[in-house]
Amino acid sequence: MSGSTKTTAVAIAAAAAISLLASACTGSSNNTATDDPNKDVTITFWHGWSAPNEVKAINANIKAFEKVHPNIHVKVQGNITDDKINQALRAGGSGAPDVVSSFTTDNVGKFCSSKAFADLTPFLKKSGIDPAKTFPRTMLEYTQFEGDRCALPLLGDAYGLYYNKDAFKAAGITSPPRTMSEFKADAIKLTKTKGDSYSQLGFMPNFHGYESTTTHLAAQWSPTYFDTSGKSNVATDPAFASMFSWHQDMVKSLGGFAKLEKYRTTFGDEWDAKNPFQTGQVAMAIDGEWRAGMAADAGVKFQVGVAPFPVPDDQADTYGKGYTTGTIIGVANTSAKKNAAWELVKYMTTDTDAVVSFANAIHNVPSTYAALKSPKLKLDAAAKTFVEIAQNPDSTTTPASINGGTYQLTLQDFGYAYEAGKQTDLAAGLKGVDTQVDKDIAQAK
């Protein structure tokens, strides 16, 4: 073999070896659960809660679990982001968690299809739990992907209308709006201009107005994101076109996109006391059940009203529905202690007292039928409204997708362009969304 041939051969061999090595360096997952949950074991649980009251509540829950299962010790790690979860699940190993909870329901599709989360169906069967009889429909929907149940709901969130009762009184409005036309009229009545801005805005319709996102608003039209074959359905379902037309009308009626966007830049952070609803900058807002507690903590100087978000005029009989989502919990497929991990997941998601006490502590919507009916559930008027929204049969959620929330981002991107007047052809724009969503899904499959 000549020198150059030898060098080439060595280079090829090295490349092949590196490639093989590269392919071997992948997180491995297995679906078997062979550990004995009755043996003394320590499992790791990762969650995203960070507020002191939330951390206290979750720790109390874990303590109660350890009392019931003295052989299972739980190492808790809070304030974990989705990105950290993703990387830990991919890496596996002793540092990876056994049980994971996430606020991003959109990731369920990724977690299930990639087998990052273990399929919980065998565990549910073994424990004699019928998900359909245990959990509300929408919550079951966002915790599975294409029949693969790799997650369970751990409390839920519902979105509704927050309104400033004092501002309503001053504007002569006696009750919260129930239809979109009433909502528009009230928003205009509540809007007070000041120079080229506002001293009070009835409602911030712009899609960057915190929770007034395309998906949260679209839920009021009960849309279908995908057809039966899994293709994007945005251009076909008239719900989306109706929502965008309504939205554009709201933007125009309240002063136009540029003026509203400039006003939006004066808003404080969504998650602190300077939230625009709490400061009185906006008189109505779409938000989750947590806002009531946050507004109380911020010491708002007006009476806060809560109601379901209005519905389109032609769907007036569905008033009471809203967008629902929540926290999900699953067992990491890389875990070598799946049976013990399942015991924790089962306890946190199906033990009525555990669900109720956690819901009471962090003001979230309980995620089981039994917990919703529990006499121990402490519901103030605001919480009651959100529980009713969550239980409403017409309430909807965003379905899981193989590439997470990418389809929502695509729709959102179109929404931004459409509200800003950069895209004017609604039908063509929605067709474009369909095309892009289908391309992204094809790439992920």
């Binding site: 392919s23 959109d106 990724k110 915190y210 830049t265 981002l409 991107d413 800003a420």
Partner: protein
């Protein structure tokens, strides 16, 4: 002498010499293999595979490449933004850094104070600095627009306006000019004084002195600043991401979907896409394609600049 007639002792001596040389080279060889060759070959390999990080990679042919170039809506805007930043941000940073360096070397009153004042911003953590800039340049509540308005000047949307977001990022980069200022100051102080004196005797004005004495002497440093600037800008990630998040109001917490590149994809950069695809969408293959595009671009820019090798030669050479 043919290999067959080489004395065995000589052969052994040569082998020992080769092994000794390799032993001396081994730290570099190991480092190069582990931190450059292996990742690069892996990246090429994965760019042709379907790989989500959970299951074993499978052959995907050119699908990842086709997806990135034809179907991924963020790629071309991110590439355009990256090229804009390479051309505009790098050149303005070099000019500004040199200007500040020249000024500081000329200042007689409290030069230490000025040096510190200009260098300190460079030490600010990028996230904190970007957040501070986002608040300063907030079109609704920021002091910058209030001052501009008071003078009757136009008040841009800065990080909220797609035509102003990159200039705003450039302003942020100019604020943290301390690194370039220091190397330019060192270069400027190294220019032989006699050359200035000779030029002055020949009647050269300040521009001529700068053009024919300063620039030739510091040209290697200018070239170094440009090359490192290009490579750094290719990796520009934190500042545009934070600026976009803060300005959009969507921090991406609590299960929210964050739109990268706010406003209107104007702050998207290629490294953001690598992260988004590889670590958030589990599409390692497409992420590797973009990483290779970045690598090729960095190589191309560096090669172009290195071809002007005489830029590296000082006047003395």
């Amino acid at each position: 002498m043919s290999a067959a007639t080489v004395h065995p002792l000589l052969k052994a001596k040569r082998r020992r010499a080769t092994l000794r040389n390799l032993a001396f080279l081994s730290p570099w060889l190991i480092g190069f293999s582990v931190f450059f060759a292996y990742p690069l070959i892996s990246t090429v390999y994965f760019s042709f595979m379907k790989y989500d990080g959970f299951t074993s990679p499978t052959w995907n042919g050119l699908r990842n490449w086709s997806y990135v170039f034809n179907d991924y809506p963020f790629f071309w805007p991110a590439l355009r933004n990256t090229l804009w930043l390479v051309l505009v941000m790098v050149s303005t940073r070099v000019v500004f850094g040199l200007g500040i360096g020249l000024l500081i070397t000329k200042i007689k009153t409290a030069p230490g104070l000025f040096r510190t004042a200009f260098y300190l911003p460079y030490l600010a953590p990028p996230v904190a600095a970007t957040m501070a800039f986002a608040f300063l340049l907030n079109p609704g509540t920021g002091p910058v627009n209030r001052i501009l308005g008071d003078f009757g000047l136009p008040t841009p949307g800065w990080f909220n306006d797609p035509s102003w977001s990159k200039p705003a990022l450039t302003l942020l980069a100019l604020w943290g000019i301390g690194d370039l200022m220091v190397i330019f100051m060192a270069a400027l102080l190294d220019v032989p004084k006699e050359q200035y004196e000779a030029a002055e005797l020949d009647g050269a004005g300040s521009w001529a002195r700068f053009r024919y004495v300063t620039l030739p002497n510091i040209s290697p440093i200018v070239m170094f600043a440009v090359v490192t600037g290009v490579i750094q800008t290719m990796q520009y990630y934190t500042q545009p991401l934070v600026a976009g998040k803060v300005a959009s109001g969507v921090i991406g917490g609590s299960g929210q979907q964050f739109e990268p590149g706010y406003p209107e994809k104007s702050t998207l950069t290629l490294p953001q896409l690598v992260y988004n695809l590889g670590f958030q969408r589990f599409d390692t293959g497409s992420a590797c394609v973009i990483a290779l595009v970045l690598f090729a671009l960095a190589m191309m820019f560096t090669a172009l600049l290195m071809r002007r090798r005489n830029g590296f030669l000082s006047a003395e050479d």
